[in-house]
Symmetry: D2
Subunit: 398 residues, 4 copies
């Protein structure tokens, strides 16, 4: 590839920018995963991952992907013919429901308009109606990456409890983990699904399951066939002893990334994402464009999906951004293809990288045939500047 | 980890030494896997991988492992209750049979003593006896990593044909691919299973399936549930369009490794492994130790398993090698634990790295209570020197 | 150092942002600089460096710095007591004159106000007045990094010629090379001084001399003592044969950087710098701040020095930018310390990185007590957007 | 360069193998050398470098080379016409004397046969004879890299003292520092010269001066012209404040290397070099070849120069080693060109890398027309094995 000057702006909502510290960590020579040294390393990492999920139970790290981690959650806990309740929040929720069907589960898929999170009240209703307890699991996407809409997980938990239903509760935290508040234990989640290439700032290749006691118990009797994803085989991995050769170098990268999140402080990380998200939304609104997520309190702090006006092709706009400004924006997936583009504000970002990205969008809009109503960059800077406090980051750096 | 001077000698049979060129390739920043640039890259890599398998069909690259690639082969082609014929060549063949059982297949497992490859005649007999054609697949490990024993794949193909049996033929080429001769098409293999961290010289994290037309046809009707491993979903990946976010940085590494193998020339790579294996075996025989693989023509060119005398603990020996000489040797797996250690001669190796490793073993033996009969290093150098030809490598370097 | 999220904005005028491709090139293992392989590599690099200087003569690459390259130019060509004519364009011109004095040369230092380039007319006058031809060299800084002021080198050459003076002509191109138009041969320069860490995008550690025939001739009789910097010893280096062990890994980086500049096309690189400089100056003017270089046509395309209002400490402002926005701005050097800060637009930059930097300055100004008159970012984006042409960069990428 | 399998054996006596930890440290992005962060980093490094030299005085780190560091020592302390006493121990001592002459000093060069260290008695005699104290400095190469001969520095100091001479004492520790015992303070050295690419395991590009109080005092009145190398300008660098932009990324590498040496413990490092040197010499003697250094107690622990039999061209032998075994051996320099080759055992080495190198030489000898008397590898392994103590390295690793 010939030289393109300056930094590529990778603004798709995953894979996100990998910090060079993570890349350097990954370039350490691979060594024997059966050595005491590696096992000590892996056990320590396993332990620290719990802090990221805010979970007291085991976290299994697969060579795989978020999709694989979905499959692990389902196949370890369910049996053929089991019912699962899912909510159509967007493209990824739809894919997950397709997977469940393919695996032989019976999906009750609450329809949605892809413009908001799932509705706890609807979930409660379905569960109450399920007198026969055919529904064995409720599966929700916390942050729907395709639309930038968040489902309030705590409220879903309350809904399940209110319905007095015994279903397991599985949450896809793929694009919220390490970016937005997420509490596996406190929110009563049974399996949380994650992956490496979003807020965790590691290249793709790892799928994660944080698993609670109720889910572990279910895995003893679950009859879906499984081997690669089997939690039983993975159990010793929390002590560093993997059943297969793990993705050693990606684990080196994950170690660095977890260190970085803990150095920043997870609450600071979450606040940073909130701040950058607010600035981004302010820009979109100043430009006079619609945000795909119609419910303000459901708007994601890791990605904002922007609806383009009728007659405009969002992918043509994305092409201009890439060619003119070396910036990759996220495409519309599934039924919103061409109708929206996505601006990530996730992972290894800060005020100026996000401001640079918004400058890129602002310059792209007219080239794509969209006349912005006002300067989105000015609106974003106003948000960012209003929160800059002398000494704050200095303190953090000390 | 505090500094240990000099190069670590990683002599386990996978993960193997990752060339720094591969590590550097992997440290390139991750970027959008939906970009035209990435798709062009991935399509090119997919195409070149066929050369490594010597296959004309698609090669699917999973975020996963060799184990995952086993599961992909089985779950894409078979249905619950199908019979599979397997041969107990060692630990990995045993694990594979366990997986098949767990997935709901009926395994006919030809017993073995872990000291030789599978016997084509036995396979032919079993197939002939299977009048009802309950056996839907013959699953063989080409190079049993746990014992260093090779099964002659071409002869197994002949046996299947001689039995006039329609079973599919699956071969685990995990520790032979890129090290020993392997011909997917010519040998009539339906699915070849590979992974990244052996002869391909890439860190672990990728599982590979080279798939023939007969296997693809079988996948249309196979009923084992699958999603993550589904070939149908993977089909566009050969054009660079992955169904999920692939392990981008590991693919960067794989690209570099495939380039390197093609630069060396696969036949040269194979000859190099044969030469280093011969030297290693000469050393073991000079020391007066047994090679686990009792059949000379079955002895592996990628790893040699060395039996320790009665009363010696092979793992205690390995510990001395690691502590005294910073060299990791492979452990005995499963039922040969403590009875043997393994010396890899696989991947990114040459005369002097292998000679250094053998020097390390030679110095370790007495410390572990084994008195060598003669110098294995001298025997190995004799082999290596006898094949050094002035100008040969110079030509290759030009 | 604890994690600071996102990309550090390194906006000092050297060292500039090192592209990761250069860093990766540098991480290749060091090898024998006396090998045929290295000598071929180094000879090729030497040859390509001429294209960067637009010089037909040798380019000597020292382990050193720009300061060292100054010393090499002087000590190879001059004798104790020789006169040199220099012009006080700023801090670096002043340092160079101090060096000349320390080396035993007699400096005629044309005074300046640090707000413009040197004046060719004054140079012509001094040379005409030098009837005895005591002045043996005219030494000019092309782009004064401390002030962002450019001296028109072609015009100085004309002035020397107009004065019919035989003095050698030395030009410091440290912060213009690879960023702004520079023509060693066409402009009749005898020695051009460069270094690695500015427009060449390589970490600091290399000093460069592009040497013309007249200078080489002078070196035969020059009497200043020298050894390390001696061109005679360096002559074989242009064939790859260095007199001492060269900075091998920095040369690996330089190779990558030269490749990148040639891929972009030097004229495109220069146009890019002009564009980013124009945007930056538009921002400064919109903010209502003074540009240190008072002569518009002397304003640098690689760095802009911004004067802060009376009562404001430019270094306090820089501290805020670093702490609040993780952006390093250049300090005022020498007599302008505290009176200005510098924004680099040099090396591996593009529209969005520069826009992000200007966003950072815009948010910093009020925190430092400066109320901007208008949005500099808006002014800069207007410049950048006016020049974006669909398809332009796409073509470059193909 | 096309792929060459396995590890390159870099056995030249500098540049030595750069540990990947150093290379990774160097691949960190360059940042502002005027920042508080960098200055803290550089001050800490400066302080730790004293431990390597075992010096209480400042250590100046130049972008340059060992040659540059020689020039710094001479030019900072001496005046034109000053006498210096040097001893012809080999090629590098000869080059240093040429430099001194070129700089205007008057060299008294004690002749030598390149087969031993300098003779303290001769030095004492010369100094005693120098009634007029024309000799201002005694300049000795501790470990003559071209011949592998060591001069006993402590004894030279005694000789100077015995002669009651006030000359300064300069020692080139380029290929002994970090490999062999060296004590700047205890041995009464005034300036120690070092560089990065030998025992310090960093790529070339740095020259070092450890400076004592007597030398600093001399620098106040020394009249040799200097600027780049001037200690006065370098003084603030010990506080992290460099007069010019330093080689930031090489300093990152040096930081890692110093950490590694201190982790190993300098005494352990020295013992390791002694052990590997002894093994190498045992191999040479078993082969029946001459060691260039004729005095056993002068034999270097960082490099062994091996004399080839009459009629053999050492460089032809080196070419075979490179082509056949991908091993770079050191050439004969100056008047011993073609008569010897050099095997380094310096820097990042251990038992097995050195054993591998010796295997390479053993296989090369017959190809080059030399019939070894006996196995040098067997002799070397005997030395190495005799010193292996179970638990020893384990303890170090804890």
């Amino acid at each position: 590839m010939p030289y393109r000057p300056g930094r590529h702006f990778l603004q798709v909502p995953g894979p996100t920018n990998i910090p060079e510290r993570v890349l350097r960590a990954m370039s350490r020579p691979t060594y024997d995963h059966r050595s005491a040294e590696f096992m000590g390393f892996a056990a320590g990492l396993s332990s620290d991952l719990k802090k990221i999920f805010r979970s007291s139970g085991p976290v299994y790290v697969y060579s795989g992907s978020g999709t694989g981690a979905w499959e692990a959650a389902l196949s370890n806990t369910l049996s053929p013919g089991d019912g699962v309740l899912m909510a159509e929040t967007g493209h990824f929720a739809t894919l997950w429901s397709q997977m469940a069907t393919r695996l032989g589960l019976v999906v009750d898929f609450i329809p949605g308009d892809w413009r908001r999170g799932a509705d706890p009240a609807q979930i409660e209703d379905r569960l109450r109606a399920d007198k026969a307890h055919k529904i064995k699991a409720v599966c929700i996407v916390h942050n729907e990456t395709s639309t930038g809409a968040v489902t309030p997980i705590k409220a879903v938990r309350k809904a399940i409890d209110a319905a007095n239903h015994l279903a397991l509760f599985f949450v896809d935290s793929i694009s919220s983990l390490g970016s937005m508040e997420y509490r596996h234990d406190d929110w009563g989640v049974d399996v949380t699904i994650g992956c490496s290439q979003k807020g965790l700032m590691v290249p793709p290749g790892l799928g994660l399951n944080a698993v609670g006691v109720k889910a572990l118990a279910a895995s003893k009797t679950a009859k879906l066939p499984r081997y690669f994803w089997d939690w039983g085989l993975m159990t010793p991995s929390t002590e560093g002893n993997y059943p297969q050769t793990p993705s050693i170098n990606l684990l080196f990268g994950l170690r660095a990334a977890v260190d970085m999140l803990l150095e920043e402080g997870l609450d600071n990380t979450i606040a940073r994402h909130a701040r950058l998200a607010e600035a981004t939304r302010a820009a979109v609104q100043a430009w006079g464009l619609d945000i795909q997520c119609a419910v303000p309190e459901h708007r994601s702090n890791s990605v904002t999906a922007v609806v383009v006006p009728q007659g405009i092709d969002a992918d043509a706009l994305r092409k201009i951004a890439l060619e003119q400004f070396d910036m990759a924006l996220g495409t519309g997936l599934g039924k919103v293809k061409g109708r929206l583009f996505r601006i990530a504000h996730m992972g290894d970002t800060n005020d100026l990288t996000q401001a640079g990205a918004l400058c890129g969008v602002e310059m792209t809009l007219p080239l794509a045939g969209i006349k912005p109503k006002a300067s989105g960059v000015a609106a974003a800077l106003k948000v960012l500047a209003s929160k800059a406090q002398p000494g704050a980051q200095q303190a953090a750096a000390e």
